[in-house]
Amino acid sequence: MLETIAEILLTTIAVGLVTAGILAILVWVRNLTRKLSALRLFIQIVAVAVIFLGLIIGPFGVAEWSYLGSAPKDIAIGKNIMGRPYPDGLSVPTFACYYASGRTSTCVVWQLQSYIFPYWETSSTYLTTGLERLGIAFGLLVVMSLIFGRFFCGWICPFGLYMDLLTRLRKTLKIRYWSLSEKANQALRQSRYLIIAAFLILSAILGMRAIAGVELIPEAELGRYLEMPFCQVCPAKPLFVLAEGALGYMNLDYALSKTIGDFALTGWYLTSINIIILGVVTVGSFKVRRLWCRICPLGGLIALFSRFGPFKKLSLIKLTKVEEKCTKCGICKRVCPPQVTEVYDKKGGDVTASDCILCFRCVEMCPYEDCLSVEVAGKKIYKSKNWLKEEEE
């Protein structure tokens, strides 16, 4: 009883603090060209805290996970879906990495890879059938994509926060950014669909462990690792694992022990390929804004279910433009982190692009009143303003 009261109290305080923070930013930041960016940074930090809530609220030192470190493996929510256990937790289309401790939800890419083959298996840990799990994960992906679109990418994804912090560092050092050519962006954009398709197929094949009686992977442990082939190369995983290790929530020795090969080519928590890619993306996103987002296969999945075909009409959140008010000044194109050009090129109406991470920087910086706006379920909740009006000098 006391525990419930304590929980409610803590939740209320947390919610209160977050609301206070939001209001403080909305009031205190008078410069209209920075207000929304400040709010977004705050929400991103809150989102990271919420995703890794287990690191904050415990219980700590859970016996069965002691070899991992001091934090619980996870306090995932959504473990029970209508009475049927769904042990990996709520699937979210963002990098809420499965392998990190203390998380409340799970990266949907991990789940798709894990459940895709053999989907008919049930085991002691998974009491729902594989097909049900796959359906739930996929269903949640589609629903969240339709409701939020790539809002996850701009406001919630911790890896996005990582890249934005790198950008802020670069800005403080007054170093200029690099822009990729339209051709390069196009190539990255199209390759992400190939990447996710390839990895999902690979996951299915490797999950089989054998094709027509020929054993694919002799070692069971290696097989377990390779069932999630994308996680072997994903740059987000090592970021979280190394960060948690540094903070003491994860035992890095244990993490490194769970690897195979001379250079830790494959592994559960970390692989050398993971780290190399993280290094490349870090260096790249220092100079190129939101570099990973342009090739992110998870982003591609969301885009697939919110920006194309019938999904486009059903999608709830979009950017719209009033044709007459646009003077084609090009500010929106210049300030866009993933270098989206549709907002500029398209004449009017729905101008959301598949690359757009819905960070709303373009709406913030557009100097023509009501030209660009963010529409949620048909209602315009944020419009471009004459930001010259409110600047305090």
Partner: protein, 444 residues
């Protein structure tokens, strides 16, 4: 060889000193008279004209206070950089601690002089500038240390040549197609060159800090400008001609002082909105002018007719580079690094322009959108499409604009005139008929 034969200036023939002095003085006197008359007319039409306008009346006199100030600043070592078209990067000029000033000619009498050299088919603004140069009429042109000349139309291309005999001319070649990927990179290169030239002339480097402060100064000016323009959306607290005067003085005035004075004027006008103190009856027909620039002082011919005829009209907004387009678009800077500021300044001058010298796959849609948007926001009743004879670009876009305005149900009249006072009678009959038409439609 040309260089053997050509001695002295290449276009303008030698004139005797006495002739130059005589003509110069007579045009100057008549110009001062026209300026005074226009101000008188504005005062007469608006008896309750705010005192804040007196500052602008003073600055509007080319030969008065502002000329004196510039001379003093030049003696103190500052450079004066003129520009003939609205593509010159004012922020760079300010950052290098030089004085930017627009050198466009609005003198009808000077056009007659220019007729000696240029045939009458040439744009009158060009002929007038040539004429003004012949008698060294314009103080700003004469005092310039260099002139930035964006070659946006044929007339300006050749004008630069003519003027280059007397002043260093810095050419800028804006691409005619805005949307091509190579256009922006070409334009940025042009901007780099100009930046270098400004730094060389003034001896001051354009740094992150001074560029930032000049961008912010211009943003403040845009803020004040938009504040004034927004006031014109509502009931008539300011006549069109007075607003145009305020707009145009920003082209040669000290920009910080102009910003301050415009804000003072807006404070007064906002009070008047509450007190319902209007410059003319609120049901006066609201007219928009679009087309070639109307430069002070002589080009007040048509606005005078619009606002003084019977029935009266009110100029609420315009789509001209001598009015609403001067300071409407701000420079939008994302990261205050040198490269981003440079990109932002370059893009603002190229992309935001709705001049018909541009085209693209959809044509000059920017201008169409601008006009449609203004008509809705300012509740415009009718449009006067003003073209000075010789401007092919504006003349040709009329066919498109007319069809769009017909679709919108907005009457538009093609008013084609020249740098002359002799057709005032004809202009009057047409403008009066047009305003009559607008008035009658209000009854419908």
């Amino acid at each position: 060889m040309a260089s053997e034969i050509e001695k002295g200036s290449r276009y303008i023939p030698e004139m005797s000193k006495s002739e130059i002095e005589e003509l110069g003085n007579s045009i100057k006197t008549s110009s001062i008279k026209v300026m005074e008359q226009n101000i008188e007319k504005m005062k007469k039409t608006w008896p309750n004209r705010p005192e804040a306008m007196e500052y602008f009346d003073e600055i509007s006199n080319f030969f008065g206070r502002r000329e004196k100030e510039i001379r003093e600043q030049k003696e103190a070592g500052k450079k004066l950089i003129g520009y003939s078209c609205m593509f010159a990067p004012i922020e760079f000029i300010l950052a290098a601690d030089a004085i930017p000033v627009r050198v466009g000619s609005g003198w009808y009498d000077a056009a007659k002089l220019g007729d000696r050299i240029m045939p009458v088919e040439v744009c009158p603004v060009i002929r007038s500038t040539v004429g003004a140069k012949m008698v060294s009429l314009s103080p700003y042109l004469e005092l310039s240390d260099a002139i930035i000349s964006p070659l946006t139309c044929d007339g300006r291309t050749k004008l630069s040549e003519i003027l280059s005999d007397f002043k260093p001319i810095w050419y800028m070649t804006p691409p005619r197609v805005k949307d091509d990927p190579q256009s922006l990179s070409l334009w940025k290169e042009e901007m780099q060159v100009i930046k270098g030239k400004i730094e060389e002339l003034t001896g001051n480097k354009i740094t992150k800090d001074n560029l930032r402060s000049s961008i912010e100064k211009m943003q403040q000016a845009t803020k004040a400008f938009r504040r004034l323009q927004d006031l014109r959306k509502g009931p008539p607290v300011i006549t069109g001609r007075d607003a145009m005067l305020v707009n145009q003085t920003s082209l040669w005035d000290n920009i910080e002082r102009w910003t301050q004075k415009t804000n003072e004027l807006c404070d007064e006008l906002e009070k008047r909105v509450e007190q319902k103190d209007y410059a003319c009856p609120p049901d006066t027909s609201r007219v928009m002018v679009t087309g070639t620039p109307m430069l002070w002082p002589d080009s007040w011919k048509v606005p005078n007719l619009i606002e003084e005829s019977n029935p009266k009209g009110l100029l609420v907004v315009d789509e001209q580079c001598s009015g609403d387009r001067i300071l409407y678009d701000p420079v939008g800077v994302d990261e205050w690094t040198m490269s981003d500021m440079f990109d932002a300044v370059s893009e603002r001058y190229l992309m935001a322009s709705t001049c018909p010298c541009f085209t693209s796959e959809q044509g000059n849609e920017d201008r169409v959108n601008w006009i449609m948007n203004r008509i809705k926001e300012y509740k415009v009743d009718g449009v006067i499409y003003y073209v000075v004879r010789g401007c092919i670009l504006y003349a040709m876009e009329y066919a498109r604009i007319k069809r769009i305005l017909d679709q919108m149900g907005i009457p538009v009249y093609y008013l084609d005139t020249e740098y002359t006072r002799e057709d005032v009678g004809q202009m009057k009959t047409r403008i009066e008929a047009f305003l009559e038409m607008l008035e009658a439609r209000i009854d419908i």
